[in-house]
Amino acid sequence: MSPILECINLKKSFGSKHAVAGVNLKVERGRIVGLLGPNGSGKTTIIKLANSLLTPTSGEILIDGKKPGVETKKIVSYLPEKTYLNNWMRVQQIIEFFSDFYSDFNTQKAYDMLKRLNLDPKEKLKNLSKGNREKVQLILVMSREAQLYLLDEPIGGVDPATRDYILETIISNYSENATVIISTHLISDIEKILDDVIFIKDGQILLTSKVDNIRDEKGKSVDALFREVFKC
């Protein structure tokens, strides 16, 4: 079985700036992976490349052995760092939209999560606060039964209580064979749920490791190691 995500000498440049500078990476199934790095290190670029929102300058990115396209989009559930909600739908309409287009979307699950987070399905998307928009997007993304979840800064804009609920949702909602890749710089908050970490800086991979190995061999938390590696 091919890895769920694979990068082969992946490069992406914007003009003279190398956002991703030759990344080789394999991510296995059934893992929760932290894609960790400072701002501008290339995390978002890699995730957007995996969703074909950007096209590689050279090299390849493969999902389940396939280049990003219709087939990979069926199995990838993506949470961008931007708000992509339009200004005319209500929450219940965007749920219908998702269930129309994604055969793996679980409508019941979405409504359960809305209720748990006190969100009104009849509310218009444009009237939601920034934090609530992020919650709605996360609910949409986590209500799919996908094989690969790509979450770009999923906890950035929400309060700590919601943060805990979101992390709990991530762990409890994905099936055994699914992989979750979380990009963030808020490491201490998510450290406890991670299986693996990838450290990225200036578009290059600095380190990939199991979290247990970092704790056992280096006797450090991921957060402490991060601070050490990325010391300014």
Binding site: V70, K73, Y84, N86, D100, F101
Partner: protein, 259 residues
Amino acid sequence: MLGKLLKYEIKATSRVFLPLYSVLIVFSIINCFMNFNPDYFSTSQFISLTLYILILAGMFVASIIVMIQRFYKNLLSEEGYLMFTLPVESWKHIVSKLITTLMWIVLSCIMALLSILIIASQGINFPEFFADIRMIWDTAYSYFGASLYHFIIQMIIGFIVAMVSGILLIYVSIAIGHLSNNHKKLLSIGAFIGIYTVGQIISATLFIGNFGHRFEFRITQQSPFPFTLVWQAIGVSAAFAAIYFVITNIILNKRLNLE
């Protein structure tokens, strides 16, 4: 999936057009009663007629704005993050927006005709009116025969092809503008002017150079219309539309770089 895209595209745009159509009809009804006495033209009549004309013009301006805005905002700005991660081929996005725009243009034309009929309804005797139309048709048919059908079909196809070509020209210009890192809007406008000019030069060369001699024809009962020439023009327009479509699709597919 194309059907689903169409469903949401129509939903998103009907929020603009349905209210506009309602207002247009309401104002034509108002004008219909206002103009009851054609000998006396009051200020209120003037205002209501001006408003009606503004709404009518606004309806067509809205078609253009909505067409541009739906393509740019829904596909190439933040909403593109959602649209392009749907498991749908990019050409279906183009086609769904194209069909929806075409539908609103045709509907707007129908609504415009309808509103004019409403305004004129006080002065029209409808049975007589339709009898007159019937008579004009019969006279034309007795002169031109079956080629009248040919003419009408050609006009309809010509209208649709011209509209499709125009819409795709706008799409391809926006898509080309998207290739720029910093000056998307400027490059879009430049692309539009450039492609339009080149298109005009190519069509002119084709028709003057190759087809020019066919300009000479006589209106006779056997060939009352320049069918061949118009079909050729429609063909050229369709070829341009196909090129615009292919380029737009390549850009959305292989050169998509959403910020």
